[in-house]
Symmetry: C2
Subunit: 340 residues, 2 copies
């Protein structure tokens, strides 16, 4: 009489979202059941709890992202889970810890998995799932871009475009806490006042369109040391033309799909520079490990003190993956997350 | 009977080319005679021998260059001369030394002048005037751009546009000596083969138009670490898109008068960066003094060994300044120099 056992196994069976070829995510992703295994030497078993669908995850499955894990691959690059078992030789983990991936590429769209102990990193177990599952990319990107390129002090001014993006909103909030003024460039839109109120509630000092920026801000600030660019094209030209001497423009996205433009005069005569930032390889540099722990701890504490707000996510079961992946691509601002 | 004395004084009278307002150089520059003075404490008297007319000199007088010396100002930023007298307190100079300015802005279009001893720098006295008078800007710019931004080793590859420029030609020659391969981008023109032969005689490995580059070079070189850009616009986009991971594009001019374009993908995912280089402020950094001496000595020795060729200059007397300044603006490749 094995039926009850079979039913039990099916109800709690391990599932993962796997792709074996590049293409439209909703088409190439397959839901697979698999047998749970026990962690081996230096491995841990993780019961994954939540994982977002990021634009980079979509691009990776489309084959247009530079990260290309060996196939078949489990989708998803960030998330959070609980350690459920330790393999031999694992000394710095314990069962029950809340963990996130320590780098991209391990495949988080799954109910559970066995991973190298070094592929996951313990975080504050009191964090809510939404924040823990998205700590690795957006708030960390904002944090590093503000920390690693110029030496910002209270009272300094930064400028960013795409200020309404997930990263842009974390930039605003971190700057508010670090007493750095933000000039936030957004696209002209019918409900601009609403967006302005929203971003100012997070701590934005100025919310402007490019047109307003051209008219009102040229020459107003003498010490804009940093520009954060996720748009490119002429928007980047505008931002970089406002930089003070030795200022830096950091590009982390290209929503306009246009090359970044840089003004020759400030490049040559004001010694401004342009660099890029990509969070994923940063996590792979061994020297960054202590910085990673410090950053995640600091961000977690900010969140718990109510100083950081996390975006809202629509929650999806793993079985509902086609709808989640389609919505993630068609409705840019409807952020999707799997709850396992 | 003072006539002979007056004649003598007139024949050898001190003269300088001065401007008191910005404008068309041939119109706002005035030839002035002045009384020679003796060097005071920590000063030296210099009999100037030769000084080129650089594009930057022209732009400075037009008021469109960031260097703006107090007016009235003597034109010219580089040149060479002989020390003719020492003021008190000058220990590291001697009469008869060949000197060049130690930085821009001291005004070299003059037959003689009294200068702070630290405003001039002794160079190898066996250098011909053409090379000594132009050591400070073009060969030094090429030298620093190859030394200061990426770590180039024999066998590495660099790419540059405007390869036919004065700086571009020094880049080719320095790379030949340092065993660095050069891809030299030039504009399509009727006499392309002639130019190719010319640049290859200096040591150019490849001489190509942008069209040829697009067709033939994409993917051919995996390790282009450095791009030197004096054109901007889409030419800069092409150069930077060929850079290897962690490559650097250095902008030192903008002949297209277009903003530099940078590809977002390589910025973000290959960690390439864009910086500018301007020789003038480099000379003002105190820590660079030993590097300056080492650079000028190395370049001088290369020249004396016949390893560097200096461009040809049309020579002008100081009285002939209107023609020299007009020609410098209208005939870009007819390089002008004053001989005093």
């Amino acid at each position: 009489m094995r039926l009850p056992l079979l039913q039990f196994r099916r109800a709690f069976s391990a599932k993962k979202l796997v792709y074996s070829q590049y293409g439209d995510p909703a088409k190439v992703i397959k839901l697979e059941e698999f047998e749970e295994t026990k962690p081996g030497n230096n491995e841990v078993a993780v019961r994954w709890l939540a994982a977002p669908v990021n634009p980079a995850d979509i691009n990776q499955i489309q084959g247009v992202y530079p990260l290309k894990p060996p196939m078949p691959a489990v989708g998803g690059n960030e998330g959070c889970g609980v350690v459920t078992a330790l393999g031999s030789g694992v000394n710095n983990m314990e069962v029950g810890l809340l963990v996130i991936p320590s780098h991209a590429g391990i495949g988080t769209w799954r109910t559970c998995g066995v991973h190298a102990a070094t592929d996951v990193d313990a975080v504050d177990k009191d964090l809510p799932l939404d924040f823990a599952a998205t700590l690795q990319v957006n708030p960390s990107t904002a944090y590093r871009m503000l920390k690693d390129f110029v030496d910002l002090k209270p009272g300094d001014v930064i400028i960013q475009n795409g200020a309404n993006s997930a990263v842009g909103r974390y930039v605003i909030q971190l700057c508010r806490m670090w007493k750095i003024k933000t000039i936030n460039v957004v696209r002209a839109r019918p409900n601009l006042t609403l967006l302005e109120t929203d971003l100012k509630s997070l701590g934005a000092d100025y919310v402007v369109t490019e047109e307003q920026l051209l008219k009102e801000f040229r020459g107003k600030f003498k010490n804009i040391k940093l520009a954060l660019n996720c748009v490119g094209g002429r928007s980047g030209l505008l931002l970089s033309s406002l930089l003070a001497a030795k200022g830096c423009i950091v590009t982390y996205g290209a929503m306009s799909k246009q090359p970044l433009q840089l003004p020759a005069g400030p490049l040559i005569f004001k010694d401004i520079r342009a660099v890029g930032f990509w969070m994923s390889p940063w996590y792979l540099v061994p020297e960054n490990t202590p910085k990673r722990k410090e950053m995640h701890q600091e961000l977690s504490e900010m969140y718990k003190r109510g100083e950081l707000k996390c975006p809202l996510f629509a929650k999806n079961s793993i079985e509902n993956y086609e709808s989640a992946l389609n919505t993630a691509q068609t409705e840019f601002h409807a952020k999707q997350m799997f709850l396992f």
